[in-house]
Amino acid sequence: MTEIARFSHGSRVPGWDEAVDLDLDPAEVPDPATTEVPDDLRAEIEGYMARYPDPHSAALPALTAAQRRHGWCSPEALEQVACVMRVTPAYLAAVATFYDMLRVEPAPPGTHAIYVCTNISCSLNGADALYDAMREAAGDDEAFEVRAFECLGACDIAPMASVDGTYVGPLAPADCVRIVGQCRAGEEVLPERQLDHRKSADTLAREAGLK
C-alpha cells in the first residue's frame, strides 16, 4: 500500500489549523470575565449588532473592525469578537476563512493592502506585468500585502490597483516603486490618477459630440 503524505499536524489538508489556537476550546463562547476586549472595539461591535434584527449579522463588520486593530483575524481577535457577539470563535473562523478581504495569516496592524486586479479587462491591458512589478517593489517588507485580486470593478481605468481602498489607474509597471514609496511615507497615492477624480466616459462622449 502506498503511504499517504500527511502534514505534521496529521491532516492531508494544508493550513487548516493556521487561524486557530488549538489550545483553546473553539466550541465555547468566551467568558466575558476572563476575556479582555478593548473598550472602543467593544463599542464598535455593539453598535453594529444594534443595527440588525438579528445581531449575528454584525459578523462581517465586526471581523473587519477587529482586523483593523490586530492586523489580521488572529486567534486573539476572533476571541474578542466572539466574546462580544456571544458566538464561538469557531463560528467566526468559518466566516473569516470564506472572505478574501479578511486575513487568516499573520500581518502586523497597519499593513498596506495592495490589490492588483488581474482579471480579464485588466489582464488584456497588461495586469500580469503590473502585478510582478508591484511585488518586486514591495519586496519582502512585511508591512505590505500585495495580492493579485479578482475584478475590482474599475475596468475603465485598467490596469489598476486598489491601494488601502483607494483605486488608482491606469498604471504602468514603472509606477509601482512610487506607489510603495508613497505608502511608506504616509502620503496620498498617485493623486492625479485616483478614480474618484475622474469624469464619466459618458460625460466625455457628450462633450466630444459623440452622443
Binding site: R51, Y52, P53, D54, H56, S57, A58, A59, L60, P61, L63, T64, A94, V95, F98, Y99, D100, M101, L102, Y115, N119, I120, S121, S123, L124, N125, F149, E150, C151, L152, G153, A154, C155, D156, I157, A158, S162, G165, T166, Y167, D196, K199, S200, A201, D202, T203, L204, A205, R206, L210, K211
Partner: protein
C-alpha cells in the same frame, strides 16, 4: 429621444450631496409617490416593464408584487455587490449620485410596504460605501428616512452593509446568508426570497441600477418610460465597456442600440490596426460573440437570440492580439477561485476545466480533451443551486465551439514544442 436618465448631470460638482441632488430636482418624486397609494406605485413599476439590471433581467414590478401582503417583517435589500468581471456601472452610480439610489429604495419600499432596508455593498468599494453612508445620514436628517417619512404613514430604516470580498455574494441567496453573518453560500430555491428571504421574511432584492430607475419611472410615468428603448427591453441601460477599446467606461444608452454604435461609436473600438476577435456582451459569464454579431441590437431579447445574454450590461472587447486560450484560462481560474464549494458540479467542474486548459497550454492534451471539456460544461449547467458554475461553463463552452480550430492548433504546436524539449533533454 435623449438617452440621459440615470446619468443626467452625473459629473456635476456636488451631486453626491443632498443639496446638489435637490438642486437637480432630487427628492421631488418621493412626495408624489407618497401621495399615491402603494398599489398605484407598484402598478406604475409593473407597467414600466423595467427589467432587473443585475443580470437575470426579471421584471422588477412583478418581483415586488410577489411579496405577500399584510402586516409582517419584510425587507428590501439593494444588491450592490457588483463583482462580475467587466461590470463597474453600479460603482459610478453610487459614487456620483447616491441619493438617486436612496430615493429609489424609499419609493420601492413604500410600494411593497417594507420598513427595513439594507444596501449590501462589496467590501472593495470602500470609498463608495463611505459616500453612501454620508448620503444615508443626510437623508435621515432631512426626514426622508426613519419614522414617518415626510409625515406619511411610511417608515423606513436603511443601513449600508459592507461585504468582505466574495464574488458569490452577488448571488441573491448567498448575499442573504452573508448579510445574516454567515459564509456566503447560496440557498436552495424555492422558496424564493420574495417569500422567504432575509431572516426568513419576505425580501425584495434589486440591483443598484434597477432601483435608481424607480424615481424616474414614478416621475415621468410608466407610459412615458416605455417609450424609451424597445419592446420588452424598456428604458436606458448603463453599459460598462472595457478591454481592448480606446475609450473604456460607462455609457448610458437606450436599450436596442446597435452594438457596433456602442462599441465603435462611443467606446472607440479596438486600438488602431486591431480587429475585434470576440466580445462578451454581458460580463465574463456570458457566451462570447464575434465580429459577425456587431450589428445585433443591444437589448435583452436580441442578445438571447444571438446565443448570449445582456446580463449586467458589461461589454468586454478582446482584440486579435490575444490568444483565446489565455482568456479562457483567466475566466476558468476566476470561477474556480470564487466557487463557494457547496455544489459538486461547480466545485469540481471549475477545477477540472482549469486543469484541462493547462494541459492544453503545456502540450499534454489531445483533441479528445476538447470534447471532454465541452461535456464537463454541459454537466455543470443547470445542476447547481446557483448559476456560478454555469457562468463559467457558458463562456468556455462558447469559446470551444467558436474557436475550436485555434484550440487544436495550440495543442499541436504546444505538443511539438514539448516533444522537441524532451528530445533535446535526452540528447
Amino acid at each position: 429621444v435623449s438617452s440621459e436618465l440615470l446619468f443626467e448631470g452625473i459629473d456635476e460638482p456636488g451631486l453626491a450631496t443632498l443639496d446638489g441632488y435637490r438642486r437637480r430636482g432630487g427628492y421631488e418624486t418621493l412626495p408624489k409617490a407618497l401621495r399615491m397609494s402603494r398599489d398605484e406605485v407598484l402598478n406604475e413599476l409593473i407597467q414600466s416593464e423595467l427589467r432587473g439590471r443585475g443580470g437575470a433581467g426579471f421584471s422588477m414590478g412583478k418581483k415586488a408584487s410577489f411579496l405577500p401582503k399584510g402586516d409582517m417583517d419584510k425587507y428590501l435589500v439593494c444588491n450592490a455587490d457588483e463583482s462580475e468581471p467587466g461590470a463597474f456601472k453600479d460603482r459610478e452610480l453610487m459614487q456620483k449620485n447616491p441619493h438617486q439610489l436612496i430615493e429609489g429604495i424609499i419609493i420601492a419600499a413604500y410600494a411593497a410596504a417594507i420598513t427595513r432596508a439594507f444596501i449590501f455593498i462589496r467590501g472593495e468599494y470602500a470609498h463608495v460605501a463611505d459616500t453612501l453612508e454620508r448620503a444615508v445620514e443626510e437623508a435621515k436628517e432631512a426626514g426622508y428616512l426613519g419614522e414617518s417619512v415626510l409625515d406619511s404613514d411610511h417608515s423606513l430604516i436603511l443601513w449600508v452593509h459592507r461585504g468582505a470580498g466574495a464574488y458569490i455574494c452577488g448571488e441573491e441567496t448567498a448575499l442573504l446568508d452573508a448579510l445574516e453573518g454567515k459564509r456566503g453560500n447560496p440557498r436552495l430555491k424555492p422558496p424564493f426570497p420574495a417569500n422567504q428571504g432575509l431572516y426568513q421574511g419576505p425580501t425584495l432584492i434589486n440591483n443598484v441600477e434597477t432601483l435608481s430607475n424607480v424615481p424616474h419611472i414614478v416621475a415621468m410615468g410608466a407610459e412615458e418610460y416605455i417609450k424609451l428603448g424597445v419592446p420588452n427591453s424598456t428604458g436606458t441601460k448603463i453599459v460598462s465597456v472595457s478591454g481592448n477599446v480606446q475609450r473604456p467606461g460607462n455609457y448610458e444608452v437606450e436599450l436596442g442600440i446597435r452594438s457596433r454604435d456602442l462599441i465603435y461609436g462611443l467606446a472607440g473600438g479596438p486600438p488602431p490596426g486591431r480587429e475585434i476577435k470576440f466580445w462578451f456582451p454581458g460580463g465574463s459569464s456570458s457566451p462570447v460573440l464575434t465580429a459577425d454579431d456587431l450589428d445585433v441590437p443591444y437589448d435583452f431579447d436580441s442578445m438571447a437570440k444571438a446565443g448570449s445574454m445582456l446580463g449586467s450590461g458589461s461589454v468586454i472587447i478582446v482584440d486579435d492580439s490575444n490568444d483565446v486560450l489565455d482568456v479562457a484560462l483567466k475566466v476558468a481560474k476566476f470561477y474556480r477561485h470564487e466557487s463557494c464549494g457547496k455544489c459538486t458540479p461547480c466545485r469540481e467542474g471549475t477545477n477540472w476545466t482549469v486543469k484541462m486548459l493547462e494541459r492544453i497550454q503545456r502540450g499534454e492534451a489531445t483533441p479528445m480533451d476538447l470534447d471532454i471539456m465541452a461535456s464537463v460544461q454541459e454537466r455543470i449547467i443547470g445542476h447547481c443551486l446557483c448559476v456560478l458554475g454555469d457562468s463559467m461553463a457558458m463562456p468556455i463552452g462558447s469559446m470551444i465551439a467558436k474557436f475550436r480550430g485555434e484550440f487544436e492548433a495550440h495543442m499541436d504546436s504546444a505538443r511539438d514544442a514539448a516533444d522537441r524539449a524532451a528530445i533535446e533533454a535526452a540528447a
